[in-house]
C-alpha cells in the first residue's frame, strides 16, 4: 500500500545529501524545494491513505527540549507518529549547569537509548550544531535561541507557496523583533534562496541597517511598506529575550506595528497574514485580523506537521539516509 508513495518520494529525494537539518542558511534552493515537494506528497498521502503512514516504522525519534515549547514539540511528535515512528519525550528547562550535567551528556544519554534522530530545542545558538558534532544520530534543530528554526521557515514558505503558487518575486515583510528571532533568520535565508524580496521591519533597536548586508530591505515604519507587501509575517515580541526593553511600551509598539483593521485597508487586496505563534493578540495582531479572511495562521500550523514529516523522512528514510555513513563533523563543514 505504501509502495507507490515510496517510489515518488525516493524520486523527489534524489538530490538530498544531508544527515542533519540545522539551519536554512547552508541549504541550497534545490534542498529547500525537495523538502517542500516531499511535504506536499505527504500531505496528499495522509489525506488519501488515512492519517498514519508506515514510512518510519521501527525508527525512534527523541524530542530533546531544553526550552519550553508545546506547539513545536507536539508538532514534531505528531509528525513522527504519523510516519509510524516511536517517540521519546525529554524536556528540561533551566540550564544544564544547574543539573550538573552538560547538555551534550544529556543528549548522549538519550542517544544511547537507541534513537535514530534527535529533535532539539535550546535557548542558546549553536546547540544543535554542537549536538550534530557529538552525536552519531541525525539532529533536527527545532530552534536554537534566536539563531535558526529551519522547520518554521520551511512551513512559512510552504504556506505562501500553497496560496500563491510560488514565493519567487513576492514581497514578504517580517515584522517585529528581528534581532531576537530565529523565525526571521530562517525565513530570510529560505525566502531569499527562492527568489522573494524580503523586508525586515521593526523598531530601530530590534533591526539595524546592518541587516541590509544579508540582502534584505530594512524598514522601521510598517505604514511605509504596507502597500507593497504580498505577505506579512508578524513575529512575536520575545519579551523573554530582552535584557532591557528595546521600545518604550507595548502600547507604543502596537501603535507602530500592530496589524489591525485600519492597516488591512491600506494593504493589497490579496495580502497574506501570517504569524509563527504563539500570537500576542492586541500586540502584533488584532483579533479581527488574526481571525479574518487573509489570515493563514492555522494553515501554518497544519503545514508544520507536513514539513516536519518531510524532514524526518528525508533524514531517516530517504535513499541518502540509507547510504551515508555517520560522519559527526559533516554538519559544521556545511555551515562554513
Amino acid at each position: 500500500m505504501s509502495e507507490p508513495i515510496d517510489v515518488s518520494l525516493n524520486r523527489l529525494a534524489e538530490g538530498w545529501r544531508h544527515r542533519h537539518l540545522l539551519n536554512l542558511e547552508s541549504l541550497s534552493p534545490e534542498d529547500i524545494t525537495i523538502i517542500l515537494d516531499v511535504a506536499e506528497v505527504l500531505i496528499a498521502a495522509t489525506k488519501s491513505e488515512g492519517r498514519k503512514l508506515s514510512l518510519l516504522t521501527g525508527k525512534t525519534i527523541a524530542n530533546l527540549f531544553f526550552e519550553n515549547s508545546t506547539r513545536t514539540r507536539n508538532s514534531f511528535s505528531l509528525a513522527a507518529k504519523r510516519l509510524g515512528a516511536d517517540t521519546i519525550e525529554f524536556s528540561s528547562s533551566g540550564s544544564s549547569v544547574a543539573k550538573g550535567e552538560t547538555f551534550i551528556d544529556t543528549a548522549k544519554t538519550i542517544e544511547a537509548m537507541g534513537v535514530d534522530a534527535v529533535v532539539t530545542r535550546h535557548g542558546t545558538p549553536g546547540t544543535s550544531d554542537l549536538l550534530a558534532q557529538h552525536l552519531d544520530c541525525s539532529v533536527l534543530n527545532a530552534g536554537d535561541g534566536p539563531h535558526e528554526h529551519p522547520t518554521q521557515g520551511l512551513l512559512d514558505i510552504l504556506t505562501i507557496q500553497q496560496n500563491r503558487g510560488s514565493v519567487a518575486g513576492l514581497t514578504v515583510a517580517l515584522v517585529g523583533d528581528i534581532a531576537h528571532s530565529r523565525t526571521a533568520r530562517s525565513n530570510i535565508w529560505g525566502l531569499k534562496k527562492l527568489g522573494a524580496h524580503v523586508i525586515v521591519c521593526g523598531p530601530a533597536t530590534l533591526v539595524s541597517r546592518k541587516w541590509e548586508a544579508l540582502g534584505v530591505e530594512v524598514a522601521h515604519r510598517l505604514d511605509d511598506i504596507l502597500p507593497r507587501c504580498d505577505v506579512l509575517n508578524l513575529l512575536r515580541i520575545q519579551f523573554e529575550r530582552q535584557a532591557a526593553s528595546p521600545f518604550p511600551s507595548v502600547r507604543e509598539y502596537a501603535l507602530l506595528y500592530a496589524m489591525n483593521a485600519e492597516r488591512m485597508r491600506k494593504s493589497k487586496d490579496n495580502i497574506l497574514i501570517m504569524a509563527p505563534g504563539p500570537i500576542n493578540r492586541g500586540v502584533e495582531i488584532t483579533p479581527e485580523v488574526a481571525d479574518g479572511p487573509h489570515s493563514v495562521i492555522l494553515q501554518q500550523v497544519s503545514n508544520g506537521i507536513a514539513i516536519r514529516m518531510a524532514a524526518l523522512w528525508l533524514l531517516l528514510a530517504s535513499p541518502t539516509a540509507k547510504v551515508v555513513v555517520a560522519k559527526p563533523t559533516e554538519s559544521t563543514k556545511g555551515l562554513a
Binding site: I104, A213, A336
Partner: protein
C-alpha cells in the same frame, strides 16, 4: 647534565632586542648566567657543552604578563606545576600568575603560597600579580603595600576590567609609591553583559549575544585619560579593537607612558570562526573581525602595541562542554602562542623576528621591571632556542597544560621552542639538539 653546566650555543641567529643584537653568533652560559655573547675560543671554559643551533633562533626566554594558573581553587583547569611546564614548552621562562584564583591573590599569604608552589614545581619562573582590590570586588583597594612586599610584581583585578573609575584613579595614584604597574583590560561591561562574541555580521547571523567594539574603545579612552591625569603606571593588558589602537597611538604621540598588550588569539583568529560554535573560541576580548585584527597586527609592527601576550586561560573540558551562553571565557595558549606568532605573523611576513622577540620577551619584562627578557652579559641565563621550521600538530597529548581548550587541536603549526634554559639550567629540550658534551 649537572645544573651548573656550561653551555655554548653555536651557529644560531641570536636576537636580543634589548641590546639591538641580531646576528649569527655564539652564546655562552656559565654558572647560571649569560657569560658572553660571541666569545673567542680562548675565553671558553674547559668543560663546555656545545649546542648546535643551526637554522634556529636564539633569544631571551619569553615573558608572559598574566597567566591563569588555576591554583589555588581551580585545579581542574590548571595547576602551577602543569601551567609552568606548559610555559617552558612554549618557550616562556617567566610568567606572571594572574590573581583570579579562588580565593583571589589579595593577601601577602596568597602571594607567598603561589611563590612556594612555583619554587617546588621548579619549572619556569612564576611571578605573582596581586589583586588591585580586596577580593577582586572592585570596591576597595587591596593591601597593595603588603602585596608588593610579599613579591607581587604588578596589580590586576583581571581578567575582567576595573569598572570602578574612582577606584582605578585612586589606585593609579596609590601605586606611584611602589612603582608597580596596574594591569587593566578595558571593557565597559554594561555594553557587553551576557555577550558571547564580537558584534558584527557573523554575530548577527549566528544571533549570539553581542560584545560591541565600542565597549572596549570607551574604556581605553577612560584609562588613558586617567593615566594622563595621575602620571601613574598603567598597562592595558589586552586590547583588540581598531578604536583602541587609534586611541593608544594618539596618546603615545602626546607622550603618555602607557604600555599596551594584545593577546595572540586576537592577532590570529577571526570572529567568523565561531560559525563552528567551538566553545574554545569564546574569549574576552572576543575574536574580532578582519579590520580590527589588521589594525592590531599593524600596531604590533609599528610599536603602538608593546606586548604580545599568550592570554592563557585554561578551562576544563566539562566547563567548555556547556552551551555557549554558559561557557566561561578562555583559551589555553601557553603551549602554542609562540608557534602561533611564527605561523600566523612571522611566516606570512607580517612581523619580523626581532620585533616578535621584543613583544614576547623584552617589553613584557620591562613592563614588570623584572630581571629578564635580555641576553646581556651577567643576566640570569633564561634562554630559548626556537626552531622556526619545526612542523607539529596540536594534539591534547602534546599539550602540557591541564586543559586543551584551544581551537588549534588537529591543526599543524610551524615553529617551536626546542630548548629552554632557566637560570642556566636546561629545563625543556625536545632532543632535536645535537650536543656532544665535550670540548
Amino acid at each position: 647534565m649537572s645544573d651548573d653546566a656550561t653551555w655554548l650555543i653555536e651557529h644560531g641567529r641570536i636576537i636580543d632586542p634589548a641590546q639591538s643584537f641580531d646576528g649569527v653568533g655564539r652564546l655562552l652560559i656559565h654558572q647560571g648566567r649569560i657569560a658572553a655573547l660571541d666569545p673567542n675560543d680562548g675565553e671558553l671554559p674547559s668543560d663546555v657543552c656545545r649546542i648546535d643551533a643551526s637554522g634556529c633562533i636564539v633569544a631571551p626566554g619569553l615573558v608572559d604578563l598574566a597567566t591563569e594558573l588555576g591554583e589555588p581553587g581551580l585545579e581542574e583547569d590548571e595547576t602551577i606545576q602543569t601551567g609552568s611546564q606548559a610555559a617552558l614548552a612554549g618557550g616562556y621562562t617567566s610568567i606572571a600568575c594572574a590573581a583570579n584564583t579562588d580565593p583571589p591573590i589579595d593577601t601577602a599569604a596568597a602571594v607567598e603560597f603561589v611563590r612556594q608552589k612555583a619554587a617546588r614545581a621548579d619549572r619556569s619562573r612564576v611571578h605573582v600579580l596581586g589583586c588591585l582590590s580586596k577580593g577582586r570586588r572592585g570596591e576597595e583597594l587591596a593591601e597593595i603595600g603588603a602585596l608588593v612586599d610579599a613579591g607581587a610584581v604588578a596589580l590586576s583585578d583581571g581578567p575582567g576590567p576595573i569598572s570602578n573609575t574612582a577606584l582605578l584613579r585612586r589606585a593609579l595614584e596609590y601605586c606611584l609609591m611602589f612603582d608597580k604597574p596596574i594591569l587593566d583590560r578595558p571593557e565597559v561591561t554594561s555594553l557587553t553583559r551576557g555577550g558571547v562574541m564580537h558584534e558584527g555580521m557573523t554575530q548577527l547571523v549566528l544571533a549570539l549575544a553581542p560584545m560591541p567594539a565600542e565597549a572596549e574603545d570607551l574604556a581605553t579612552s577612560r584609562d588613558l585619560r586617567l593615566l594622563e591625569t595621575t602620571s601613574g603606571k598603567l598597562h592595558l593588558s589586552s586590547i583588540s579593537t581598531k578604536g583602541s589602537v587609534e586611541l593608544v597611538r594618539r596618546s603615545k604621540a602626546r607622550g603618555t607612558e602607557v604600555t599596551v598588550g594584545v593577546r595572540i588569539a586576537n592577532l590570529c583568529f577571526q570572529d567568523e570562526l565561531l560559525r563552528t560554535f567551538d566553545s574554545s573560541l569564546k574569549v574576552n576580548p572576543p575574536l574580532r573581525s578582519e579590520e580590527h585584527i589588521r589594525a592590531c597586527v599593524d600596531a604590533v609592527a609599528d610599536g603602538t602595541i608593546d606586548v604580545i601576550t599568550a592570554g592563557h586561560q585554561p578551562r576544563s573540558l566539562e566547563k567548555k562542554m556547556q552551551e555557549l551562553d554558559a561557557v566561561p571565557f578562555g583559551m589555553s595558549t601557553l603551549d602554542t602562542a609562540l608557534a602561533q606568532v611564527i605561523t600566523y605573523l612571522i611566516e606570512p611576513g607580517r612581523l619580523t623576528w626581532p620585533r616578535a622577540i621584543e613583544c614576547l620577551a623584552t617589553n613584557p619584562a620591562q613592563v614588570l621591571s623584572i630581571n629578564a627578557g635580555s641576553l646581556r652579559v651577567g643576566q640570569p641565563a633564561d634562554v630559548v632556542i626556537i626552531d622556526p621550521q619545526a612542523q607539529w600538530t596540536v594534539e591534547p597529548s602534546q599539550l602540557f597544560s591541564r586543559s586543551s581548550n584551544t581551537p588549534l587541536l588537529g591543526q599543524q603549526l610551524q615553529g617551536r621552542a626546542r630548548s629552554v634554559w632557566v637560570d642556566g639550567r636546561l629545563k625543556h629540550d625536545l632532543g632535536a639538539a645535537n650536543h656532544p658534551s665535550s670540548n
